[in-house]
């Protein structure tokens, strides 16, 4: 059947084109980030750019191989591939090379190989394989347990290395599960709790309470559709803040902004609930319940963090959050990264002309912080274009996924999009201070053979499956 298809027509060249754009631009930036006076040739494999070029070529060869083997291979061997990758994760714990206090690499011949990069692809395959099975309903205990195993097993093994960043990537599969029928409130709640958790640890308590209160107010306005009432409630909240400022002076706690804010919130809660009861306004109690639940959550996070965690655990969380990433001082990496990107301005300093990245001010500049080079040398134009290309690729993948007749390919497609999205959004966010520095690569950009090869395979398995969508009837 395949023979009757014209492969060149069936390959989605849009995806291939976007991929090539990213790879070429990515490699140019790897070159820029390690470029120095000793530059001899781009083929010098002792340098990052030479090595990366080699891996790009290896990846392209693998793409050809993908098209040469039978398309049913991936469906058929999904469990085997997953099992093999779990074995590799076990192997890395035993035979792995320890770098920066974590055992993520295996040395094979002269190449360092990072199994966790490939496990993401294997997990996407196995989830697609399981959920596309006959009579499988996602929202059952059995399916959810299977999902728990398929995601939990690699996460557990990766945490043992430990590599928290890569482990966190697996949370992206929640998007796949949502698409395949998981109730929406789970996604909404987990997104919200994540955001709240980050806010609690990264922002000031005062800011968090203010943001939550604003959300509650907006929620009230949206649910009840009463702008006037919302406005009045808002005014009452603000007025009570000023009342609380004077009251706070009389009470036996320090009259700082945070305490005053909580006091004013408490007072206005009583007043607003009273008004709600009197005027029979709906949903007010519900909204207050949520507001206090979330504020309680931030208290819990703070309490756990400050009182229950031991100092070394606290440091570990801080490192995870990018608060303590460098012995030189807190937030050094992030600050240097922001300086590099910020100094690029609108048009950038020009290719190979960046001073921050060229002079090693940015740590991990050819791997996790490769985006700094883009920001510095290509400016806002460059970073915006990269984000547009990525977004285009992600939307294209969703489009490919949705046009399948095979459930397996569709679910796998969503897996690919979710993984790429997580990497893309989190990597860029962490270089500009919107997400803790968790150290995951930017796909097709960051220097690293394993990740280049793994992300290429991840994407091209989809392209391969998509190319036979017309014949693929399972």
């Amino acid at each position: 059947m395949i023979d009757k298809l014209n492969l060149t027509e069936e390959i989605d060249w849009t995806t291939v084109g976007l991929y090539l754009l990213l790879v070429i631009f990515g490699w140019m930036n790897v070159l820029a980030s390690s470029y120095n006076e000793q530059f001899k040739s781009v083929f010098d494999i002792r340098q990052n750019y030479g090595d990366q070029l080699l891996w790009i070529l290896v990846s392209l060869v693998m793409v050809v191989v993908l098209f040469a083997i039978d398309y049913r291979f991936f469906h058929f061997f999904a469990y085997a591939i997953f099992g093999f990758s779990i074995l590799m994760l076990l192997a890395v714990l035993v035979f792995g090379v320890e770098v920066n206090n974590s055992r993520s690499w295996i040395r094979i011949l002269r190449f360092n190989f990072q199994p966790s990069e490939f496990v993401k692809m294997a997990t996407a395959l196995v989830i697609a394989r399981y959920l596309s099975g006959y009579n499988i309903k996602l929202w059952t205990w059995k399916s959810m347990a299977m999902m728990g195993v398929m995601i939990g097993l690699p996460v557990g093994l990766i945490v043992l290395q430990p590599d928290w960043g890569t482990a966190l990537v697996f949370s992206c599969f929640i998007l796949v599960l949502y698409r395949e029928g998981m109730p929406g409130w789970i996604l909404a709640t987990s997104l919200f709790v994540t955001v709240l958790f980050l806010m609690t640890l990264l922002l000031q308590n005062t800011t968090v309470v203010l943001v939550l209160t604003a959300f509650a107010l907006a929620g009230f306005g949206i649910i009840n559709r009463k702008p006037a009432q919302t406005l009045i409630a808002g005014i009452i909240l603000v007025l009570f803040y000023f009342v609380a400022r004077y009251l706070a002076l009389l009470l036996p706690f320090s009259p700082n902004v945070y305490n005053t804010l909580l006091l004013s919130l408490g007072l206005s809660t009583v007043v607003l609930l009273g008004i709600a009861l009197w005027r029979k306004i709906k949903n007010v109690l519900l909204i207050f319940t949520f507001l206090y639940a979330f504020i309680g959550f931030t208290f819990t996070v703070d309490y756990v963090f400050d009182n229950i965690l031991k100092p070394h655990q606290r440091t570990r969380v801080n490192i995870l959050l990018g608060k303590e990433t460098d012995i030189r001082n807190v937030g050094y990496n992030l600050n240097q990264s922001k300086i590099a990107i910020g100094s690029g301005g609108f048009l950038g300093k020009g290719y190979l002309k960046g001073t921050q990245t060229k002079l090693d001010f940015v740590p991990e500049q050819s791997t996790d912080f490769i985006f700094c080079t883009v920001g510095e040398e290509w400016g806002f134009i460059g970073t915006a274009v990269i984000i547009l290309i990525y977004t285009g690729l992600l939307l294209r993948i969703l489009y490919l996924a949705e046009r399948q007749r095979s459930q397996f390919t569709r679910i796998y497609g969503y897996g690919v999009a979710s993984i790429l999205f997580f990497h893309f959004a989190v990597n860029i966010s962490m270089t500009i201070g919107m997400f803790p520095v968790i150290g995951i690569p930017l796909p097709y950009f960051s220097y690293g053979g394993s990740s280049m090869l793994a992300f290429t395979l991840l994407l091209f398995i989809l392209v391969r499956l998509d190319s036979v969508r017309k014949v693929y009837i399972k």
């Binding site: 998007l175 300086i339 590099a340 690029g344 609108f346 002079l359 969703l398 999205f421 500009i432």
Partner: protein
């Protein structure tokens, strides 16, 4: 739309939302917020300051007086340090291990990275270190210059160079922490000329502070411009001789070339060795000098307020002559003093009565009391206050009671009482010539600095004008000095009157029996002088002498104060004459060696 299409749309929205927030955040970071650009500049470039050598200072005969010596600051480049033999290092540098450790730890703090670990290594230490420097990577030496003196003298003249403090930095943005600045004397006044211009080398550095090459191809590099050399008006030999004469005395000698106002020598004794105030020991030495009871840091030549005593009499005579209250023939009798309505001013024994010329020769107090009385009681003005104001105007025109505006920063004004002073003290119209009679003989409310005295002598020598005394003759690369150092300050008194007074001063040195300053007499050179004894309520009187020579076409005018030297003729006059002789003949004649020896062997340092 089925449920799954909605879910797809929600996922699409999440992707788009993420993209939009990333782009917005990047727009803020890269386009709106400019602070990161500045941080990036500081991050990647390091400006090394190139310090220029200060200008050299020559004397009027082009003898080099002040020049520069290299000084070596030991620096630490923390990220280039490698393990080294700290015991050996400490013994070479002469620090203990604790200091070394503290220095290394401190160097890791970016705020202190460019501060020296040890300032101003001695050349010997530097030489030792240089031999073994290969053993101590991460330590390097930054060279700057310090002052050096070909002859350790004239400390007050040269002033000194110190490090800038916060106030100086705030006042002039040329300076940054660690810069040197001239603080007093020539170094202070001519700071702008002497300092040159700092250069800079802007280097590209990496995160460890390692130099990667010039920043933007060296576009911002500037060479340091060496300071301008100065030729000062000082005569090295005369200055040195004067300091030798004064080494056991407190007081001051100021010598000026009358025709030009150029200061030939400016001596304030006791002085100090200018080398004490350079380099690392400066602060410690300064503290020592500051607490020395002999006040070596006090520049008496510019700042000491002495009563002029009888040396003021020529001015009195000039005013009297010009106002017409006396003539050359006016004579007054003296019965060992001036006695009038209960006021008395004593005088020594001399023949009487005397005319003007001999009044000056004999320094007769009674004579000048009468002159002063006539000036203040001049019927032309009707009352004492108006007449006093006229007198005051003449006195001020000699440069008294005000800063002469020379090229010193620390000149003091002295004091001449204006009539309002007496109005306040006695009440308006309740004072007259007799209540202020001390002024007649240079006492009372009359304080004059040695520089002003020398300047007055210049004005007499010039028969009626002076040029503001100054200490710099030529600035390298500049054609002329400031205008004020050429301008004649003309005194409104006729030349004939000056000639009369000068005749009196000539006789005071070279006259007959009554001359007061015979000791200042020189062979073949007519010295005109006037002794003075400045009454000192705190102890022995001060010995004062003013003189100029030769009488015609004078080459040098001089004022000498010797504290506690009592009579003008006992110390000040011989010293002045020795100075004049030295300057005009280059040597001291054998006949006067005895006087010289007496001066050199005397000692009034601890006299009170």
């Amino acid at each position: 739309m089925d449920q799954f299409a909605t879910r797809r749309n929600i996922l699409v929205s999440i992707f788009l939302l993420a993209a939009v927030s990333l782009i917005l955040r990047l727009f803020y970071l890269q386009v709106v917020d400019t602070s990161y650009k500045l941080s990036a500049e500081n991050n990647s470039k390091r400006t090394e300051i190139l310090y220029p050598a200060r200008g050299l200072i020559y004397d009027r005969n082009n003898n080099l007086l002040v020049y520069n010596q290299p000084s070596y600051d030991l620096m630490i480049a923390p990220y280039e340090l490698k393990p080294f033999d700290s015991a050996e290092f400490c013994s070479i540098i002469g620090v203990d291990i604790y200091r070394l450790r503290a220095g290394i730890i401190r160097s890791f703090n970016p705020r202190y990275r460019r501060e020296p670990f040890i300032k101003q290594l001695s050349p010997e230490t530097y030489a030792n270190l240089q031999e073994k420097q290969y053993k101590f990577p991460g330590f390097y030496v930054r060279s700057r210059t310090l002052r050096r003196y070909s002859k350790e003298f004239a400390a007050h003249l040269f002033g000194y160079v110190g490090e800038v403090d916060d106030k100086m930095i705030a006042a002039d943005n040329y300076y940054t922490l660690g810069d040197y600045i001239g603080i007093s004397g020539i170094e202070g006044y001519y700071e702008d000329e002497l300092r040159g211009e700092k250069g800079q080398e802007v280097l590209l550095v990496d995160v460890h502070g390692r130099v990667k090459g010039p920043y933007q191809g060296g576009r911002f590099n500037r060479d340091a411009v060496v300071g301008k050399n100065l030729v000062c008006t000082i005569d090295k030999d005369l200055q040195e001789y004067g300091e030798t004469l004064m080494k056991n005395y407190k007081g001051s000698i100021v010598a000026i070339e009358p025709a030009t106002g150029e200061i030939l020598a400016l001596i304030s004794a006791p002085s100090y060795n200018p080398s004490l105030l350079i380099g690392r020991q400066r602060t410690a030495n300064y503290a020592k000098l500051e607490t020395d009871l002999l006040e070596p840091l006090f520049n008496r030549a510019l700042m000491a307020n002495y009563p002029p005593g009888s040396t003021f009499k020529p001015v009195q005579a000039l005013i009297g002559l010009q106002e017409g209250v006396i003539t050359s023939a006016s004579s007054f009798s003296c019965n060992q003093g001036f006695y009038f309505r209960g006021q008395s001013v004593g005088c020594h024994v001399h023949s009487s009565p005397l005319d003007l010329v001999h009044g000056i020769e004999n320094s007769c107090n009674a004579y000048f009391c009468n002159v002063y009385k006539r000036i203040i009681e001049n019927p032309k003005y009707g009352n004492a206050e108006l007449a006093y104001n006229i007198w005051y105007k003449y006195v001020m025109s000699f440069g008294f009671g005000q800063r002469l505006n020379s090229d010193f920063t620390n000149e003091l004004k002295g004091f001449i009482a204006p009539s309002t002073y007496y109005d306040k003290y006695f009440g308006s119209n309740h004072w007259n010539a007799l209540t202020t009679i001390s002024l007649a003989i240079g006492q009372g409310e009359l304080l004059i600095t040695p520089l002003q005295m020398a300047n007055m002598t210049t004005a007499i020598a010039n028969r009626g004008y002076y040029i503001i005394p100054h200490v710099v003759k030529k600035i390298e690369g500049v054609d002329t000095l400031e205008n004020r150092f050429y301008k004649k300050h003309v005194i409104d008194i006729d030349t004939a009157n000056f000639n009369l007074v000068i005749r009196g001063m000539e006789l005071a040195v070279n006259g007959g029996a009554g001359r007061t300053a015979w000791i200042a007499q020189l062979k073949d050179i007519i010295v005109c002088g006037k002794t003075g004894t400045a009454q000192n309520p705190h102890g022995k009187d001060h010995s004062v002498f003013i003189a100029f020579a030769p009488k015609d076409n004078p080459k040098i005018a001089i004022s000498v104060y010797v504290e506690h030297g009592e009579w003008g003729a006992s110390y000040a006059a011989p010293m002045a004459s020795l100075m004049i002789e030295k300057y005009l003949t280059d040597s001291i004649s054998p006949g006067r060696k005895g006087i010289e020896a007496r001066m050199l062997n005397g000692n009034l340092l601890y006299s009170k």
